[in-house]
Amino acid sequence: MAGPKKFRMKTLQGKEAVTGYLFLLPALILLGIFLLYPMGAAFYYSLTDFYILRPGEENFVGLANFQTILGDAEFRQALINTIYFAVLVVPIQISVALGLALLVNRKLRFKVFFRTAYFSPVVMSLVVVSILWTFMYNPNEGLINELLGVFGIPAQPFLTSPDQAMNSIIAMSVWQGAGFQMMIFLAGLQNIPNHLYEAADIDGASKFQKFLHVTLPGLKNISVFIFITITIAAFKLLVQPMIMTQGGPLGSTKSLVYHIYEVGFNYRDVGYASAMAVVFTLMVLIITIVQRILAREEGA
């Protein structure tokens, strides 16, 4: 996602370089302790049979864990669930975020109120939001089913039907997350120079044409950024199924990260969990790289 501006870097020299690196040091130390070291450890453990209850007794097993992954039906289901989630959440969340941004970017009354309202789910803890929505989705006493009841629609088993549970989690996740991307889109919208719209007006462009030919191209870079960040976040799905469904019903909402967590912490099989984590990391890495290449090609 290369920005339009190219920063000219002056090469640091001598003492200045030392100072510069020293300023980097605190960040590097933290990165090393909390990111690089754990990643390295996970990679190492993925080649062992490390079991939590037998610390220090791990054996090197080569690629055996990775072989197990190939035959693991639960892993496959979790992978499919996660991809399903990402494929739906990413476009929906981007559209909702853009729609909200366009709405609150107009000159309307209570603009600040709406912006705050749409943004507030973002600052709420995902755990709290998940618990709230579990109540709202309840078939007997839940708010949503009560509302449906008013229109004569029978109560829906939102979280207890294998067909609906993931979709219910998607809806809730979009509601929770879209506010954040809305703010970014909003910033992008306000960065589009007004004279472009004025020029379009002079050319007699309709509202829709202006949106298509001025607004959207103006949001290009921001969209790519949002696209990539939402995708990565979507693949990290964990809290919602953990709190709302425990991965059920019938494993229909078990995400990859949740599966990894369960195997590693509940079943204590850190070796195997690490192997899955390595596969997962590579997957996300590849997806991100592909996305960037695609975005760049389109921009060229």
Binding site: F23, I29, I33, L53, N140, G247, G248, N266
Partner: protein
């Protein structure tokens, strides 16, 4: 000098950061301690914090004794319960000049936060001398030598006073590893008002417990347009609850979850007795007598006539003003009831197992188990305690007593328990959703078998 000063800012920043990281580790250990720690003399533990020993050396305690320092982890579920533990430990410290217990309270949210803490400490080699652990996990910790056998400190006479299920729960491979201070059971709660309206008579002792057929019949009769016959607390989620509450269906049909030697689940968890039990569970849901999504207070609000619930339901039902009663857990061939709760284990790392056992003994003695029972409403673990607590002589609590002392069965003692219980819960949920029972059980057994392999060699 000027050039030097350029470096000072980033360097100090790094130093502070490093210091903060290192500092947290040692301060974290003492900052969470809830009971006051007055360091009497040298600690015989390897105290990680040299500061502490240094201080202790300077301040000569009045007693002058060299007392044994023990660290202990306690789970926190409810405030009253935790306060009770702290009080009991303080009392222990007062009574024993030569042993000093420092308890650390760790949040137990009913999920996995407490066991996550244990796992983390285990890997880091930071386990305390004695810790509270959940009953069915005793086998895992025993198998891996995380906790040690207490056989040498106990004799028949001492154990005689404990109910069988607590010994069952604490044993692995023929040795005793753990003792607890409280039991748990699941009676069949019922709404007296509804029973009177419908003219249904509740059994008053374990001998009169309903059979599956009677249970189904009454549950159906009690189900109306705006009321369920039975609540199974499916809202607790697909987890330990389903195994705890549901396993007696299999057991009372003379089935088992695992073979007697614990080596296989094949032919047991998916054996004909289990299949029949899960079919029965499935039929309860199909008949519409149980709610797949009950509200938190379904029974307490009178929206379910009966409930298979833990002892805590007595408290919430009382608060809600429901006229409630208890009857025994229904059965097929042999009456069986659920059991098991938090218990204590002595870690293998401790240098003072004898003293640690003194603490365990204290926390499970008559006074402790009675006090804990009074605070939590959970049944005690000692026969003597039942005798001295009057309310267990009459209904409804006599049902609880009969179950704990006569029909209680502990969950399987296997190091593969984490996977086994998930397999059971998944199967239970699948049955509730109307899935094919045999197929589900076969699939789940496959998972359990894979896990058992780890321990079978």
């Amino acid at each position: 000098m000027k050039k030097m000063s350029k470096w000072i800012a980033p360097l100090t920043l790094s130093a502070v950061l490093l210091g903060a990281c290192g500092g947290n580790e040692s301060s974290g250990e003492s900052s969470n301690n809830e009971t006051a720690s007055n360091n009497g003399g040298n600690s015989s533990d390897e105290a990680p914090d040299t500061m502490e020993t240094g201080e202790a050396d300077q301040t000569v305690e009045a007693s002058g004794d060299e007392s044994v320092q023990l660290d202990m982890w306690i789970h926190q579920t409810g405030e009253d319960e935790t306060n009770f533990y702290v009080e009991r430990i303080d009392a222990f410290n007062e009574e024993n000049d030569d042993i000093h217990v420092t308890a650390e309270i760790i949040i137990d949210d009913g999920g996995s936060s407490y066991s996550d803490s244990i796992n983390a400490a285990l890997v880091a080699g930071n386990l305390p001398d004695i810790l509270a652990l959940d009953g069915p996990y005793v086998a895992s910790f025993a198998e891996s030598d995380v906790i040690q056998s207490i056989d040498e400190y106990v004799d028949e006479e001492f154990l005689d006073d404990f109910v069988d299920s607590i010994i069952q729960q604490g044993s692995y491979d023929g040795e005793l590893y753990s003792l607890g201070a409280m039991e748990a059971s699941i009676p069949l709660y019922y709404n007296k008002e509804i029973f009177e309206e419908e003219g249904i008579e509740a059994p008053t002792s374990v001998d009169e417990a309903w059979t599956w057929d009677e249970f189904m019949e009454h549950a159906e009769a009690l189900t109306t347009e705006d009321r369920y016959g039975l609540n199974l607390f499916m809202n607790y989620g697909v987890g330990e609850w389903m195994t705890f509450m549901g396993a007696p269906f299999v057991w009372s049909n003379d089935g088992e979850l695992l073979s007697e030697d614990g080596s296989t689940a094949d032919g047991y968890l998916n054996g004909p007795e289990s299949v029949e039990a899960f079919e029965y569970i499935k039929s309860l849901f199909e008949a519409g007598v149980v709610d797949l999504n009950p509200g938190e207070m379904q029974f307490e609000e009178g929206n379910a006539a009966m409930a298979l619930g833990g002892p805590w339901i007595s408290v919430t039902a009382e608060e809600a003003g429901v006229d409630w009663g208890m009857m025994p857990y229904p059965y097929k061939e042999t009456p069986v009831s659920p059991s098991g709760s938090m218990a204590y284990g002595i870690t293998s790392l401790t240098e003072n197992p004898e003293e640690a056992f003194e603490v365990m003994k204290w926390l499970t003695n008559e006074e402790s188990t009675i006090g804990l029972s009074e605070v939590t409403g959970m049944p005690p673990v000692r026969h003597s305690a039942f005798e001295s607590m009057d309310h267990y002589d009459e209904l409804p609590w006599s049902i609880m007593r009969e179950q704990v002392t006569e029909t209680a069965k502990a969950r399987p003692q296997t190091p593969a328990y984490p996977v086994l219980t998930d397999a059971f819960a998944q199967s239970f949920h699948a049955a509730a959703l109307g899935e094919d029972v045999q197929e589900t059980l076969d699939q789940q057994v496959e998972r359990v078998e894979r896990e058992l392999e780890r321990f079978n060699d």
